[in-house]
């Protein structure tokens, strides 16, 4: 006689690891051993597979190599400091009191946007879960056999009547969306990848491009402003009778820094203004994806709105997309207790094929869910759900 019991079980129960037979589960019921192993619930940033560093418990994200960010900050602080200390008093006396105000506003803008560019998630795509990876690999075979093998390198899609090739990322195990590129320094796929900027120590992508653009534009205004003020200061002092050489001796550092940086930063701002107006990324421009350099005939940029104003607005004033990597979300407690890579084990399914193909994937890639209920919670909730 069959006793049929229906119970609603969390689908993740199918994919959460069950490495040992029921005696382990029986021991887990008492809870003591599990509690000792998993003392504190871990956050997802602690098991993030990319080469990033996290601070303030996952609130701040930077690339593993901070590059020359300290140098950038140092140069800005030193130059601005010297400007406020040596040039401002003279110019306020001889010209106008607005000068330190304007300088101050620009300086604050520059520092804030620099820190935002460096510490914001540029649009990192989380790696595919083993189920998704297996699904992609399974789709390719049309002969009816369910085999799992690496898919072809590219897939073509039609975007606004333009053929675009989507590449398969072997690290992230997914076909990259259009305009996405894998940064080898950060080991992440980044949406609308522009470039990896060593000066800010982070990738520049979809989510932080507007911060980056505001940073370089305000920096070019700041350097041009300081350069102009220093030159005016020197001119006024030279007129005062002591001579140009004497005046030069008083503020050489700022002059040198500003002289060399103003051209490069103005040039960079100009270049990015052109990119924004034509809705291109640095990556696409360098590769010549849409200018026909790559050999394809008659290619046009399918993402451009064909209007400079609309392009600028969509890139700079468009909606701010959310971060897709849930840095501060909690891992399920039994996942954080395990140190080895999780194996997806589903009873009576051909799960061993999945393991062969995607074995060794990190815990994060195994599809983590916080909520014990069937409907997953929103990504940025800070739930600490325990399964015990």
């Amino acid at each position: 006689m069959k006793n049929c019991e229906y119970q609603q079980i969390d689908p993740q129960a199918l994919s959460t690891p069950t490495p040992t037979p029921p005696p382990h589960a029986a021991a887990a019921e008492s809870g003591n051993e599990q509690d000792k192993k998993a003392k504190r619930p871990r956050r997802k940033w602690e098991v993030f597979p990319g080469k990033n560093r996290f601070y303030c418990d996952g609130r701040i994200i930077v690339a593993r190599q901070s590059g020359v960010l300290p140098l950038t900050l140092g140069l800005i602080l030193v130059t601005s400091g010297l400007f406020f200390i040596f040039d401002c008093p003279f110019l306020v006396k001889h010209l106008t009191g607005c000068i330190p105000v304007i300088g101050g506003v620009l300086f604050v803008f520059v520092v804030i946007t620099l820190l935002q560019t460096s510490f914001t998630d540029p649009g990192i795509l989380p790696r595919a879960t083993p189920d998704e990876a297996a699904d992609i690999e399974k789709q390719i075979d049309n002969t009816g056999n369910t085999t799992y093998r690496p898919p072809p390198r590219t897939k073509e899609v039609l975007i606004n009547q333009q053929v675009v090739k989507l590449k398969y990322c072997f690290t992230c195990k997914m076909f990259r969306p259009p305009r996405t590129s894998h940064c080898s320094l950060c080991d992440n796929c980044v949406e609308r990848f522009d470039h990896h900027c060593p000066w800010v120590g982070n990738c520049v992508g979809k989510r932080n491009y507007r911060f980056f653009y505001t940073f370089i534009v305000s920096l070019s205004f700041l350097t041009a402003f300081i350069f102009g003020c220093v030159t005016t200061h020197l001119a006024l002092r030279a007129q005062g009778g002591k001579g140009l050489v004497f005046a030069l001796q008083e503020s050489p550092v700022e002059l040198v820094i500003c002289f060399f940086s103003v051209w490069s930063i103005l040039g960079l701002s100009g270049f990015h203004t052109y990119l924004v107006a034509s809705n291109l990324t640095t990556n696409e421009d360098i590769k010549g994806s849409w200018s026909g350099k790559s050999g394809a005939e008659d290619t046009t940029n399918p993402y451009s709105h064909r209007n400079i104003f609309i392009n600028c607005c969509s890139v700079l004033c468009g909606p701010m997309p959310p971060s897709l990597i849930d840095r501060r979300g909690f891992l399920p407690t039994e996942e954080s207790a395990q140190t080895s890579s999780a194996e997806v084990e589903t009873p009576s399914l051909a799960a061993k094929n999945e393991i062969n193909v995607v074995g060794g994937s990190s815990q994060l890639a195994c599809g983590l869910q916080d909520s014990p209920s069937p409907v997953p919670a929103p990504p940025n909730s800070h739930q600490n759900s325990s399964f015990a």
């Binding site: 069959k2 006793n3 049929c4 019991e5 229906y6 119970q7 609603q8 079980i9 969390d10 689908p11 993740q12 129960a13 029921p22 589960a25 887990a28 019921e29 604050v108 803008f109 804030i112 946007t113 935002q116 795509l125 989380p126 189920d131 998704e132 899609v157 975007i159 606004n160 997914m174 969306p177 259009p178 507007r210 911060f211 505001t214 993402y303 609309i310 607005c313 969509s314 700079l316 004033c317 468009g318 909606p319 701010m320 997309p321 959310p322 897709l324 990597i325 039994e334 009873p347 009576s348 399914l349 869910q369 069937p374 409907v375 997953p376 919670a377 929103p378 990504p379 399964f387 015990a388």
Partner: protein, 160 residues
């Protein structure tokens, strides 16, 4: 697993079904409305298409470039983007609406048919996944053993 208990999965949906993104209109978030063959016996085509089309509409609303988004963008630029630290963006508001809609759809339409939709944000906006929601637990032969084992199985599942 005790040999007295058999787990029987719903045969036609042993794996998860993933609905991929539709890039025909660019990089805006849109999912394919093509009805997958694996779901043929589980859900009506019209219900599936309605759900995916409504999701697509929500995402289009979130990513719409218009007066409100320009205002938000300009205000943010004027405040050196510090406003993003204090204010919830329109996109986040729409994501909350989407989460609520998915929960509603799961409760009313999909759970009774033994399916569950996962919010795409959980998958990095790559896919909408349909998963099997129900497991049927049979205890055969000894009923008393079955009751105890069935209870233990329930507890074990809750542990997981």
């Amino acid at each position: 697993m005790s040999p007295d208990i058999q787990l029987e999965h719903s045969a036609s949906l042993a794996n998860k079904v993933f609905i991929q993104r539709d890039y025909s209109e660019g990089t805006t978030c849109k999912f394919q409305t093509k009805f997958p063959s694996e779901l043929e016996s589980r859900i009506e085509r019209t219900l599936f298409e309605d759900t995916v089309k409504t999701l697509n509409n929500y995402y289009a609303e979130a990513e719409k470039i218009g007066g409100q988004s320009y205002l938000e963008g300009c205000l943010a630029c004027a405040t050196a983007y510090l406003i993003f630290l204090c204010m919830e963006t329109r996109y986040e508001k729409v994501l909350k609406k989407i989460a609520k809609y998915i929960q509603e759809q799961n409760e009313k339409i999909y759970a009774p048919r033994g399916l569950l939709i996962t919010d795409p944000i959980e998958r990095g906006m790559r896919v909408v996944s349909f998963e099997c929601a129900w497991l049927c637990v049979y205890a055969c032969k000894s009923i008393s053993m079955g009751e105890k084992d069935g209870g233990r199985r329930e507890e074990v599942s809750k542990q997981e």
